[in-house]
Symmetry: C2
Subunit: 560 residues, 2 copies
């Protein structure tokens, strides 16, 4: 083929959607555009009303997703000058679980005036945490009745996932639950809008809706045990047909072609989850190399050849990342967020002034100062639980701890201790994977943080004792989506027949590599031993002080 | 007597000396003056030389003490307009142990050009910490040989005390040790300068030089075991005659009268220690009421009728505070210093700007914000060991810890948690006293902090469950010294025959009282239970992580 072909990936984030147009031959990013959601995260009150939301609510407006197609795709076509007929495929990735109730034809309930003022008719964003009571009940009932499917998720599922959210609708707004013909992931809903076909992806279902390729969904009896009205939720409002990653969902409808400026019938891939699609975009399609998506939180993805129960992980899914392998996922709930908290709350004015005078950001100044310290020099060790522990303890009620402070302790020492703590957290995850038969020999870092913070990456290499490479694209989600678009188009159309091939051609690593420094590793081994002792003491029941303090705090705030 | 009589107290602090002139009838402060030491704390290099000091050294210049007499006393006479003949007595108090080597006539060695360039010829200030190796050896040898006198000091003595400092001179500058006819507390040295008589006080000897009224100093064999050259240190360079508090040392010499503007032969009291003299100045001359001197550190003073071994206290001395009672002392090494550290290192620029805009100090702003929180609301608990633990663990190698932080934690919550931690530390001390037969029914707070920080005092009341009164004078040291001056003068001269009588007439409390708030106490009981569990876990050997981290830090800094 002489003529260059292109694919478009659209990454739906928490605050905005990003489209990239890439060259199918080498993955080169030709153009990119971001569209910020007009209604962003809806967590105070419903748009255009005075209807206030409970504090744990986090909703979105489905129309914001469509606006991304209508604005960002035309923008990348225009910027690149690429002709619509040379765009062979389109893929998307989405936050998950982000779900909504719709009518049978896909019309979101919140689009209908009858339901528009009911918060439960809107999209529940991944970080909607108001379904915690339902998650607790679900975990308890599954345990009591002896169902084993929770073992795939480290023993319990999160309030962020599909069935707690669905159940919350039923609990709090049974009329909305009743009116919803479909309950669907945002990821699958946007594909429906593009192709006119409701084709759900197996990845989201596997990681967020307790589905597995071998066992399917939990049995109806289980849902009946939760609430008799939910007995047939899967057959009534979901689907038992789930499509693998890389499959083609269909072609663009005339209407969607009109929104985007692309040709009707352009190949559209089955939807992806943001984290999982980043893995082949980081060149990883085989076991042994872990991809860590480093941003506000860390997401750890690794593949294995067998089905291993790894305690305390977020989940594993057969073919959840690439075909033919089990995809394992773990996470840390507080990484970039942690440093942002520190910057906002703990950095003295004198540092802000110094940074300004020297033309640095406060982050850069702190990194510079922290980089001058040697491992162990601060005498500090922290537990990285400012936002709970996702893996391997799976406990949102754990909190942060800093130990070793003296009157000589400086802000940059605390900052470095917080970075180190997140590295220890990652090391705990790696050790748990390896102890349970999932090897991790090397790390590929992707996401926003690794590009901004070299010190952080070196500390991760030193603490884990593994070499770290950096993904070539910092837009792993959008690139991975475009790669899936090229696979949906297929080789004949100028794309690829598998994500493994697409990854080989379209993904790359940066040249720089971070090797563990042996002297540092030796000291970090000693510090990590201290971390693990504290991790187990506070995290595994020897002293539940963190939970008691959280309970007391809740009591005091409730005025009890 | 119709004519009013006055007494002067001089309080020698770390950076300056303060004189107050008070009315003997009612303790009213008529005039006050402060003189800052020209050479302050000498910890970088010897004055007027390039001779650098080791980092743990903290020296002073004896001449700075004399300058306080020459400047501050004339200043209060001038300011008050009081005639010198109406000043019936003079007392002083001093930091301790602050000691120096002198010739037989009292001339400090560092005054002589032969020794002036030797750091060991200078005054060693209380916070000179370079004698830690000697303190360690002393504690070890005393333990090995089965001497029981360390039981009076919680089981070990500090590097800040007399014999480690004396021994360090011998170890590092045997020629200075050899040339020193006398090794003497600064407190006793200034009294010698005023009266021409070397009369040492029992209080400092009891608290800092392992002396007791019943047993005297440790036996010569003990000193021989430390170093044969020290066998006769007490008889050769000190004195076995020690004078009780409130006794008269003598009258002002002609020369000292010239310095001060007072009449020759004005009564001069035996020297006092700063903390101990504050007790009768805070109206306390009986058991059951604890005086807490709150400043950069906390000093807890309480009296008992019997001789009780209280583990982990700084010491107890028969008649160490007032005649006829045992004086017990405990301490926390980091209180005001703690908050100052926090302000310097952890308060964001936005708070500094808000404080400036509202015309508040940052301390005031933080106090205001922290006061709006309820106990338990932050979910935080801290261990107040940023500068080690003085009582009841007596361990300088312990370090600070903060637990319970989340991404929503605000600076004022941490600030309040640090205040609460110091209150828990005080509560530990009180509980240990009571468990060992020394009751504490009520607290009188004195020193700089209680006047500046009402929130702190209320938290102490709530945590300890004891009412707290505030001493009427914020200059407890100087007032107490003046009271001892009035006792040295005696009733016939218009003064008093005992410190108990002087305290009744001259000391007072403020009207305001802080009562424990029952709801708060209930919550603090739960938080204190968490504190104690952590206190014992980290402080009593279950997990020596703090010591290991400190050792690692020292190794790294030494480049090992």
């Amino acid at each position: 083929m002489s003529k260059r072909k292109y694919a478009i990936g659209v990454d739906f984030g928490t605050e905005s959607g990003r489209a990239v147009l890439v060259d199918v031959a080498d993955g080169q990013e030709v153009a990119a555009a971001v569209h910020s959601y007009a209604n962003g995260v809806i967590d105070k009150k419903l748009p255009d009303t005075d209807i206030r939301l409970d504090p744990d609510f986090a909703l979105q407006d489905h129309n914001d997703y469509l606006e991304v197609f209508k604005r960002a795709i035309p923008a990348v076509l225009k910027e690149s000058g690429v002709a619509p007929e040379d765009v062979i495929g389109l893929g998307i990735d989405f936050t998950a679980c982000t779900m909504l109730p719709t009518k049978a034809d896909g019309t979101p309930l919140c689009f209908l005036s009858k339901w528009r003022e009911n918060p439960h008719a809107w999209v529940k964003l991944w970080k909607h945490h108001a379904a915690q009571p339902e998650a607790n009940k679900l975990n308890q009932i599954a345990g009591k009745l002896g169902y084993k499917f929770l073992d795939r998720y480290g023993g319990k599922i999160s309030s962020e996932w599909f069935f707690p959210k669905a159940w919350q609708i039923l609990d709090e707004a049974p009329e909305v639950y009743q009116a919803a013909d479909r309950l669907i992931e945002g990821a699958d809903w946007v594909i429906w809008q593009l192709t006119g076909q409701e084709k759900r992806n197996a990845c989201t279902a596997g990681y967020k809706a307790i589905w597995s390729k071998r066992e399917g969904f939990p049995p109806n009896d289980f849902f009946k045990a939760l609430d008799p009205r939910m007995e047939h939720i899967v057959d009534e409002k979901m689907s038992r047909t789930l499509y693998p990653l890389g499959a083609k969902a269909g072609g663009l409808t005339e209407e969607a072609a009109g929104w985007t400026g692309l040709k009707p019938d352009t190949a559209v891939a089955i939807a992806n989850v943001d984290a999982h699609v980043s893995v082949p975009a980081a060149t990883v399609t085989e076991p042994g190399r872990m991809v860590i998506i480093m941003g506000t939180s860390n997401c750890h993805m690794v593949m294995g050849t067998g089905e291993n129960i790894v305690p305390g992980m977020c989940g594993y899914v057969d073919e959840g990342i690439v075909p033919g392998l089990f995809g394992y996922e773990a996470g840390q709930s507080c990484v970039g967020d942690h440093f942002a908290w520190f910057l906002e709350n703990c950095v003295p004015g004198a540092y802000e002034q110094e940074a300004e005078k020297r033309g640095l950001s406060v982050h850069e100044l702190l990194e510079e100062k922290a980089a001058q310290l040697n491992p162990g020099e601060s005498g500090l060790v922290a537990l990285d639980w400012w936002n709970g522990n996702r893996s391997v303890l799976v406990d949102v009620d754990l909190t942060g701890m800093l130990l070793g402070a003296t009157l000589a302790t400086k802000p940059e020492e605390i900052y470095r201790a917080l970075i180190e703590a997140t590295a220890y957290g990652t090391h705990t995850i790696i050790e748990t994977f390896e102890a349970n038969g999932v090897p991790v020999n090397e790390i590929v870092a992707t996401g926003g943080l690794p590009n901004r913070n070299k010190l952080l990456v070196q500390i991760y290499a030193d603490v884990t004792g593994r070499p770290i490479r950096i993904a070539g694209s910092s837009q792993g989600g959008a690139l991975g989506s475009a790669m899936h678009g090229a696979v949906a188009a297929g080789q004949e159309a100028g794309g690829y027949n598998s994500i493994v091939e697409a990854s080989k051609q379209m993904a790359r690593l940066r040249d720089e590599a971070y090797e563990p420094i042996p002297e540092n590793k030796k000291i970090y081994d000693r510090l990590y031993a201290e971390y693990i002792t504290l991790h187990n003491y506070f995290g595994r029941g020897a002293n539940d002080v963190m939970k008691r303090l959280k309970r007391l705090k809740a009591e005091v705030r409730a005025g009890l």
